[in-house]
């Protein structure tokens, strides 16, 4: 799934996160995580994000996460939404089986 445009999902409010996906150079993706709870949960947030991006096979993009202490389920939902918007996936074409 190739990133073709810039997209946002989420908010900056407490217990949420803002995900910004933008077109980047080359294959794969660049992931940058900024979190208020990074010292405690940084590796867990990163693992969750990588799992979602790998499952959706996101490539050619930069993914920036501004986390405000969101739960894993929220992180997954926001990432999926931002990635599919950035990859211009139409609602009718969503492969629901890939979304857990």
């Amino acid at each position: 799934m190739k990133v073709v445009r810039e997209a946002l999902a989420g908010t900056l409010e407490s217990n949420d996160l803002l995900v910004r996906v933008s077109p980047g150079r080359g294959e794969g993706y660049e992931l940058v995580i900024s979190s208020e709870v990074k010292h405690q949960f940084g590796p867990q947030i990163e693992a969750t994000a990588k799992e979602v991006l790998a499952r959706l096979a996101v490539s050619g993009g930069t993914v920036v996460i501004e986390d405000k202490g969101a739960l894993d389920c929220t992180i997954r939902a926001r990432l999926e939404a931002a990635a599919m918007r950035a990859c211009a996936v139409e609602a009718a074409d969503i492969d629901w089986s890939k979304l857990k």
Binding site: E6, L8, T11, L12, E13, S14, L18, R20, S22, E30, V32, S34, E36, T62, V64, E66, K68
Partner: protein, 347 residues
């Protein structure tokens, strides 16, 4: 305080004079000026009373204010979420803002990252952690070795013999010269055309790299008053931010030691920018090494210094005989065949 007491709305000041006045009065309470360039505002109200606002001028966030009694609550994050979403809807994802240094921690919590600060005056931030740092990483790949590395930032609107002379003089003095073309689309000639003119006109200059410009040098974001000369006096901080971004980020990435500039006989904005260069690139306190400013006297034709504005004036009169004395053959060819010809056939 519960959220449902707050309502959010979007205000277009050009169409909503009553609300515009209300925002103006609200900003005064926060010691902020109403910025006439703001195209759209997000405001929050509680029981009808304005309690927070933020504005957008293209990709620059301005006029962010929160009423004193609501500070410390989470309204700031809501406000910034709204303005970031509104900017996205309007086609701007990469945002910048200017704020007082005291407010940096607040905006840092809203996903903005500090780029440079003029101590006690103003801080300049962008809404991505991979903006300017990534740009500089890419520039680092273009760095050349040598003891004297020069840089020139030019608009080239259009590219004249004066620009070529400045480049040739600078290149002769340096081990390598990096030339940037201002990328902002705010000139008579498009960025694509200006870049092409510089590229063709400098094809034979040795030891020189021509770079694409970016939002980080002489852009609407770093130096808005350059593009809006008529809109008031250029403040000190205005040139400071642009020059500090150059000194603290761009110059170290490329190893730039000298910045070259033509003397400015006509335009007061550019003249002030040149004068400020000496200060902000070298004298001012900064974590980065100083960059020496070298002013090279303008090339003249007859008695008159060659300027792009004069070429634009002659172009309006289609006086190509006079233009031929002021621009290189490559620019003249561009102006005659690619600039004027299509307009004539269309007419």
């Amino acid at each position: 305080m519960t959220d449902d007491e707050l309502s959010c709305e979007t205000i277009f000041p050009a169409r909503q004079p009553l609300e515009r006045g209300e925002i103006g009065r609200f900003l005064v309470q926060s010691d902020l000026d109403y910025e006439p360039g703001v195209e759209v505002f997000v405001v929050f109200r509680r029981e009808g009373t304005l309690v927070a606002c933020a504005g957008l001028e293209k990709n620059i966030v301005k006029c962010v204010a929160i009423s004193e009694e609501l500070r410390g609550e989470s309204i700031g994050l809501k406000l910034l979420t709204e303005i970031v979403g509104l900017a996205q809807d309007r086609g701007y994802s990469h945002l910048f803002l200017y704020t007082k240094p005291d407010n940096v921690p607040f905006f840092r919590g809203c996903g903005f990252y500090p780029l440079v600060e003029v101590p006690g005056r103003v801080a300049f931030m962008e809404n991505t952690p991979v903006g300017l740092p990534s740009y500089c990483t890419r520039l680092r790949g273009e760095a050349k070795s040598g003891g004297k590395i020069g840089a020139i930032v030019m608009n080239a609107n259009p590219f004249t013999l004066g620009h070529l002379y400045l480049i040739e003089r600078a290149a002769a003095e340096c081990d390598w010269l990096h030339v940037f073309v201002v990328a902002e689309e705010a000139s008579l000639f498009s960025y694509r055309d200006r870049f092409a003119m510089v590229s063709e006109g400098t094809a034979r200059v040795a030891r020189m790299t021509l770079h694409h410009g970016s939002s980080y040098m002489v852009s609407r974001a770093t130096f808005s008053s350059y593009f809006f000369k008529e809109k008031g006096i250029v403040g000190d901080c205005c040139t400071a931010v642009d020059l500090l971004v150059f000194r603290n980020w761009i110059a170290p990435a490329l190893g730039v030691t000298h910045r070259f500039v033509g003397t400015e006989p006509f335009c007061p904005t550019t003249r002030k920018y040149n004068a400020d260069m000496h200060h902000w690139l070298a004298e001012a306190a900064s974590p980065a090494a100083p960059v020496e400013t070298v002013e090279i006297p303008r090339l003249t034709y007859g008695e008159t210094p060659i300027s792009a504005s004069e070429v634009r004036r002659l172009l309006a009169e289609k006086d190509f005989a006079a233009i031929a004395h002021l621009v290189p053959p490559t620019t003249l060819d561009f102006l005659q065949t690619r600039w004027c010809a299509p307009a004539m056939t269309a007419a």
